[in-house]
């Protein structure tokens, strides 16, 4: 089956690269002998050996190239031209462009070959999202009900075919518990307060006798120091600050070694999960585990879901960041204790209203997060309906009986009726705006496909995709409505 060579373009950060590994794994699984190359940021080169096998890694010095263009345009041009020449010699059949950026688009264009994902059209000037990507783009218009993980977005760009095996659940480790904490994230809005991490560290040391490793970059080291300062001298002994002291290789080794990583939505979290280490994610603000939770089975996420969740990262600081206080360190410590003991978490410290504990597993589409201790809500139902529609678009078989446990009220039932009626009538008239907003992804999808026709998307194909998604969504809702 070995055909031409494949190039995957992933120029973004650590977390994005790690979340690309399931796609690489799939491509390898589908055709082990087919040469598979990756174009990525030079600073992540050390991770290449950690992830799925690659035949060649093209590195781009992303930050260096910018300043070189300023100082020595001819030199910068040469570098890129050298890459382009390399691509030409490789003679790629297929390119997966995973980045929504002009730079990646132009690299993909220069690479030649058939491009999946963000496809260059109009002579390399414009993007065309393929139907699956366009659907995800539409879903992201209503993030509250988006239930498709980034890794699965990438993964399903590969042709439908034999399903590669999902990674197994993390294996319990023996000995004195070593728990790693990643205290910083790249944005204040998604960062759990340091005070909470400090309290957590104290509880973990006290209740589990854990050794705490603080991981992160040198820039974050001051946070680590502040955390240590917040502990009693005895407790401080149990904390090792590795921030800024590990390169990627060493970080990988440490993450493999530790028993548990507790982190916000960071590259470290994704790396630990990918390495088979159990993780607990602390998601708040703009972070949504459905989109970027730890990928794999058997991971846990505590997610703060006030009415404004998920918010946007951009824009002014939040005037009232209630989510920061919604994840109690005690609950996290409880969870760690259960996991350390190899038991399923039960009877945790009660969580504030709006905070949920999720457990990760797999369904035919990919990773899912199911709430523990409570059933699915109305918005979960909608999210699942969209997820199912996506599966249909991809031609994936869907189980006839579903393991979902719904906790719906009468109002929800009525809303479901109304939505189904609106869909049958083909519009959002007659339903209240909040309810109508749940149809936004369908509208966004239609609009995106319409725009794409101008860029060259085949009209018949576009219509067919739209129908598939709409019908899939409707069907899901109808079935649940019928089930009562």
């Amino acid at each position: 089956m070995t055909e031409g060579k494949v190039l995957v373009v992933q120029l973004a950060r650590l977390g994005d690269l790690v979340q690309t590994w399931p796609l690489l794994r799939r491509l390898r699984h589908q055709d082990p002998a087919r040469p598979l190359d990756l174009l990525g940021d030079r600073t992540l080169a050390a991770l290449v050996d950690v992830g799925p096998d690659l035949d060649h890694f093209w590195e781009v010095d992303m930050s260096g190239l910018s300043s070189l263009w300023q100082r020595d345009p001819a030199g910068a041009y040469d570098r890129v031209q050298h890459l382009a020449e390399g691509f030409r010699k490789r003679n790629y059949d297929l390119v997966y462009n995973l980045n929504f950026s002009r730079v990646a688009l132009l690299f993909s264009y220069l690479a030649g070959g058939d491009v999946r994902g963000y496809r260059p059209v109009k002579g390399g000037r414009e993007f065309l999202r393929e139907p699956w990507l366009a659907l995800v783009y539409a879903l992201v218009h209503a993030r509250k009900i988006n239930r498709v993980h980034l890794s699965d977005v990438f993964r399903h760009l590969a042709p439908a075919g034999e399903q590669e095996p999902f990674p197994g659940a993390p294996v319990a480790k023996k000995g004195e518990p070593i728990i790693a904490l990643q205290v910083a994230t790249r944005h204040p809005k998604r960062t759990w307060p340091l005070k909470a991490f400090t309290r957590l560290a104290g509880l973990l040391i006290k209740r589990l006798g854990a050794q705490i490793w603080l991981v992160g970059t040198r820039a974050e080291a001051s946070l680590g120091e502040a955390l240590r300062e917040g502990l009693s001298p005895a407790q401080r002994e149990q904390v090792i600050n590795l921030q800024g002291k590990t390169d990627l290789g060493e970080l990988t080794a440490r993450l493999r070694e530790c028993h548990l990583l507790i982190s916000g939505d960071t590259g470290t979290l994704h790396l630990a999960a990918a390495l088979g280490t159990r993780t607990v994610g602390i998601f708040l603000g703009p972070a949504s585990c459905f989109e970027t939770g730890p990928y794999g089975e058997g991971h846990y996420v505590l997610q703060a879901e006030p009415p404004c969740h998920p918010c946007t990262e951009a824009g002014a600081a939040c005037p009232e960041p209630v989510c920061r206080a919604m994840i109690p360190p005690e609950a996290v410590a409880d969870l760690a204790a259960f996991l350390g003991a190899g038991r399923e978490p039960a009877g945790l410290t009660p969580l504030p209203a709006g905070t949920r504990l999720y457990h990760s597993a797999f369904d035919p589409l990919g990773v899912t997060y199911s709430p523990l201790g409570t059933g699915h809500r109305f918005i979960d139902l909608l999210g699942l309906a969209y997820r199912r529609a996506g599966a249909r678009l991809l031609g994936l078989a869907w189980p006839t009986s579903e393991p979902y446990c719904f906790a719906l009220c009468e109002d929800d039932g009525q809303n479901l009726e109304r939505l189904c009626a609106a869909l049958k009538n083909g519009g959002r008239s007659g339903i209240s705006p909040p309810l109508a907003s749940f149809l936004t992804p369908l509208e966004a999808y239609r609009e995106e496909l319409r725009k794409q026709k101008i860029l060259g998307r085949d009209a018949v194909e576009a219509e067919a995709c739209l129908q598939t998604v709409e019908q899939g969504f409707r069907q899901g809702l109808e079935e649940w409505r019928a089930a009562g």
Partner: protein, 593 residues
Amino acid sequence: MMEYWEKNIDILKERQPELAEIISCAHIPPDHQVLPSKTAAPFLQVGQQRLHSTYDPHKEGVEWARAQDLGDEEAVVIFGLGLGYHVLPFLKEGREVWVVEPDPAVARLALEHQDLLSWWTRGGLCLGRNFTDLPAGMRLVPHPPSRRLHAGLYRRLAAHLAGQGGAAGFLRILVVGPLYGGSHPIAGASARAFQGLGHQAELLDFAPFYQGYQTLKGVTKDKATEHRLTQDLLRFLGDILVARVRDMQPDLVFFLAQAPVDPKLLRTLRSEGPLLAYWFVEDFQVFPYWRDLAPEVDVFFTLQREPFFGELKNLGLKNFSFLPLASDPEVYRPVTLTATESRQLSAAVSFVGAGYQNRREFFQGLLDFDVKIWGSDWNLHSPLGPFIQKKGARVSEEEAVKIFNASRINLNLHSSPYHLGINPEGDYVNPRTFDLAAAGAFQLVDVRAQLPEFFVPEEEVATFQSLAEARTKIDHYLAHEEERLRIALNGRKRCLRDHTYRVRLGQALEMLEDICPGRLPQRVRPKPPLEQLRRQFPDDHPVQIMLARVPPEVEELSQLVDCLRKGEEPLTETEAIFWLLHEFQQGLERGRF
């Protein structure tokens, strides 16, 4: 000695006809004096500067020439013509001689008093700033007195001949205008002119504050309070000016008359670093506030020479220079009128301007003509009443241009608060004189001492010295349309050549250099980004081919990317790589790719 003139000008007409025309029109200002030396040969004195020996200018010239020690066949560029004594020896050697003489009046005097051109077989004369055709590398010798008069220009010539010509001294200039009044449009025109000369010029326009200033007048009957409030406002405007100067860091702040500044503010600004220039576009006898301001600026430009210069010298000042007005040909230009406009605006004789007393009197003698009077401050209940248009409402610049174009004869009577009718001692020439000429409108203007310096009377503008003469000429020119149109056309040509704000302010900058040598930075104009980029790639690089296809008006990288965005053909590898690298730069600035 005038016999030389005919001979010289005839030869010049053949060799350099344009120059001949300019020199023929050149008017000799009163401070250019030709005086007899001890040997009877004439010497020239410009202002205080003697250009030649007062004993034996011939001998001086010969000795000077010898002292330059030129090689046998060496061509030479001499800066400064004077009366030519120092040039003649070189001409008699048959050498190739170029002379750069900034002052047309000096050139004129030289051609009147010296047998020059019959000796001048090789080389030529360059007048004013027109030396850019001179090739680099020629030997330059300055005539020392001429160099003292035009230090800035000499420096520029030296730089040009040394091969460093071109864009010398890209400046940041802040132009400061008044709250209102006659110099307000001049401020705007000045800023535009500086920009047109290639500088980064900006106008700080206080006109928006005029309303507030007017409002203060009616706020209280208590004069002391009103005065205090007004001073507070002016101080506030001064703060605004200081803030702008601190932010912009201009090389030069160029004030127009009635800009809201006082000596204290000027001292503050001067200490901030920029050069301060003040263009006093007033009659010094009518507005004496120059006494306080002239000492506080680096260069003080005036519309009048003596006796104003004498007064300034009495203050101990040397920083003054004569800078007459001009016109902005982008505003004042020939325009075609619609039928309606023609109907509304045209007249046999028009006047646009304020109703000063002398005008109110004088125009009463013209009411039997088809007259239209426009502008403010006229008495609607006087005999002029029926002729005043728009009930004496102010006329905008755009309207004025149309009126100028619509009138067969435009009357230009200079204002005077003291005289009835014509001011016999009127020296300076008002903005209207230049505006009318630029607009290609025929004007009949009262005689002013300086007028012949700018326009040849009866060839480029028509003049009058009395009411009777005005009437006669009105009759004549109404009856002779062709002559009228010819004079108007000549006036416009002359104005466009010599009297635009761009020309005038270019001269001002050179005067500035002469008075404050070395104070203005010799900053090289920043090259457009694409231009810079071209220099960073080898000539045969594929990027050069791509850049060569780019339209000339595209100077910025972002514009180039726009061109790529709009193209139809698939991006070439070069284009894709270029765009990619540009995006890298953008991404770096954005913080994400």
